[in-house]
């Protein structure tokens, strides 16, 4: 196994009195492709948002290469620049063209020169097949194209791990494929990925780890063969049975 990038210990998150995450423990190692599955409201997205510090965990710790990033005195922006995130709603900057979306972070955060940033951005835009659209504004391209640009934007920052928060849930069915194939390609190249998804086929075929969450706890985890082929817990079986018919 590779080195540990993220280690999450006893992570909890409450919104008011509602406890969304309860005592979560798990680790992400270099090269892992971890799929987090579970019913809506089971805390999957909240977990991912906590990992990127978009939500502040109520308790527990997140160790990034052994250093805790939760709490005061932590440089959250610097940490986030190593952990990329792709959102369900794309969140492309609507005041910038596609190319600028992929350049701005490199120039402002990583202090790269514009030319270097441009080349880097082009490399990833070509990779996701969006190079012809670099002059388009986000409102002018389709959902699948937006998501591919969002992936290129995250990749251009050279993150160590990439978080995907339901990347295909806001897409029309015919656009899901183009995004999933980009993600599959990334996984094949050894990118460390943490994917919250409802695409069971993707979780089964592409990921190296599957985590099943229910009611804010990790109910079951293991290799895709273990979780999909031979689920141990009753709730996992019930959840997976819903996808059997497809």
């Amino acid at each position: 196994m590779g080195e540990t990038i993220l280690q999450i210990n006893h992570l909890s998150k409450s919104f008011g009195t509602h406890e969304v995450l309860k005592d979560i423990d798990f680790t992400v190692q270099k090269g892992d492709v971890t799929s987090i599955i579970g019913a809506s409201g089971s805390g999957k997205s909240t977990l991912l948002r906590c990992i990127n510090l978009l939500e502040t965990p109520s308790s527990g710790e997140i160790l990034y290469h052994g250093d805790n990033v939760v709490g005061r005195g932590v440089n959250a922006p610097a940490y986030r620049s190593h952990v990329g995130m792709v959102f369900q709603s794309f969140n492309l900057f609507s005041n910038m063209i596609v190319l600028e979306n992929c350049i701005v972070g490199q120039v402002k955060v990583l202090k790269r020169s514009r030319e270097e940033a441009r080349q880097h951005a082009m490399h990833y835009l070509e990779k996701v097949g969006m190079a012809p659209y670099i002059n388009a504004k986000p409102r002018q391209i389709s959902g699948g194209q937006k998501q591919r640009v969002a992936i290129a934007r995250a990749l251009a920052m050279d993150p160590e791990v990439l978080l995907f928060d339901e990347p295909t849930s806001a897409l029309d069915p015919e656009m899901v494929g183009e995004v999933l194939s980009v993600m599959q390609e990334l996984a094949r190249e050894g990118m460390t990925m943490l994917v919250v998804t409802h695409e069971m086929a993707f979780a089964r075929d592409v990921s190296t780890h599957v985590v099943y969450m229910s009611d804010g706890v990790i109910c079951e985890q293991g290799s895709p063969e273990e979780v999909f082929g031979n689920p141990q817990k009753e709730s996992t079986k019930e959840f997976l049975a819903r996808f059997r018919s497809n």
Binding site: G71, R80, H82, N91, V109, Y133, A136, R153
Partner: protein, 293 residues
């Protein structure tokens, strides 16, 4: 009809005698409205930005206290200047300063006083507009910026403010047009803008109505010209509706060099019959392909 002609004659007469006075008034009005709107926008922008600095329970106490204090001060400023008439504020500040300083301090120039009063008034309105503009931006934009490691300042300058400013352009325009008209109350402290000349001119003769007609036409022309200009600026800010595809796909590059016996090159000279034959051939081929599926 006679009356209308009479009005026209009176207007011409007035304009002949006092045209340059009216124009001078227009100039003063425009200068005051422009400068005060600009300064007001800057005040509003600063207030709006300070007002939207986020803080959480995790932040240290002094920071939270300071941010809360700033919000209270801005709130008080906005409520005070939005809640009292500008004409009264003008009198209050213009005469209040020498009153309180025992005549040691007073406004050296009318311009200074007028610009100050109109600016802080505009600022009070703009502060709320800017705050509204900032909070109306989809939170996803902030999250997207945060996720690539931007700080709050970077997020604001690169992502949020450019969008917020576009959204509050109609408000800026609104304030400017209101200022063009409402600077007319500055006659109260003796500032000679457009309307002040009406008072001055009708004091010399008694052509109240013709002079008022000139004022009406003047103000309406000014505001119409500016609302047109503002629309144009907004359109410019939105940029082009279309975009160009950049072809970097290696496959499409070879499209022009594709060769086929029937096709020749674009430079070939061919007879009309030959072209017809090719067209028919293509049609048949397409037809058979569709049939085959």
């Amino acid at each position: 009809m006679d009356k209308v002609i009479k009005l026209g004659q009176d207007i011409v007469l007035l304009w002949k005698n006092y045209g340059s006075a009216y124009l001078g008034g227009v100039w003063n009005t425009l200068a005051l409205a422009t400068v005060a709107t600009l300064i007001g926008c800057i005040i509003g922008l600063v207030c709006g930005i300070l007002n939207t600095i986020p803080y959480t329970k995790q932040d240290p106490l002094p920071k939270r206290f300071l941010l809360k204090l700033i919000r209270i001060i801005i709130r008080a400023y906005v409520e005070l200047f939005r809640g009292t008439p500008m004409v009264l504020q003008a009198v209050f500040i213009y005469y209040g300063l020498p009153y309180f300083s025992g005549n040691t301090m007073r406004f050296e120039s009318m311009w200074m006083a007028a610009i100050l009063i109109v600016s802080i008034n505009t600022g009070a309105y703009m502060a709320e507009s800017v705050r509204g503009g900032i909070i109306s931006i989809d939170p996803g934009q902030t999250e997207g910026a945060k996720a690539i490691g931007m700080t709050h300042v970077q997020t604001m300058t690169s992502v949020i403010l450019p969008q917020a400013l576009r959204n509050i352009m109609p408000q800026i325009g609104n304030n400017f047009i209101i200022n063009v008209k409402d600077t007319s109350v500055m006659f109260i402290i003796g500032f000679t803008e457009f309307f002040a000349f009406h008072r001055y001119i009708t004091g010399v003769n008694n052509m109240y109505f013709p002079s008022a007609a000139i004022e009406m036409i003047g103000y309406l022309t000014l505001t119409l010209v500016f609302s047109f200009l503002l629309r144009w600026v907004e359109k410019k800010m939105d940029g082009s509706d279309s975009y160009e595809l950049v072809q970097t796909d290696a496959l499409t590059m070879s499209a022009g060099t594709y060769s086929h016996p029937d096709r020749g090159t674009p430079f070939d000279e061919r007879s009309k019959e030959h072209r017809e034959r090719i067209k028919m051939g293509l049609k048949n081929r397409n037809g058979s392909m569709r049939g085959g599926r």
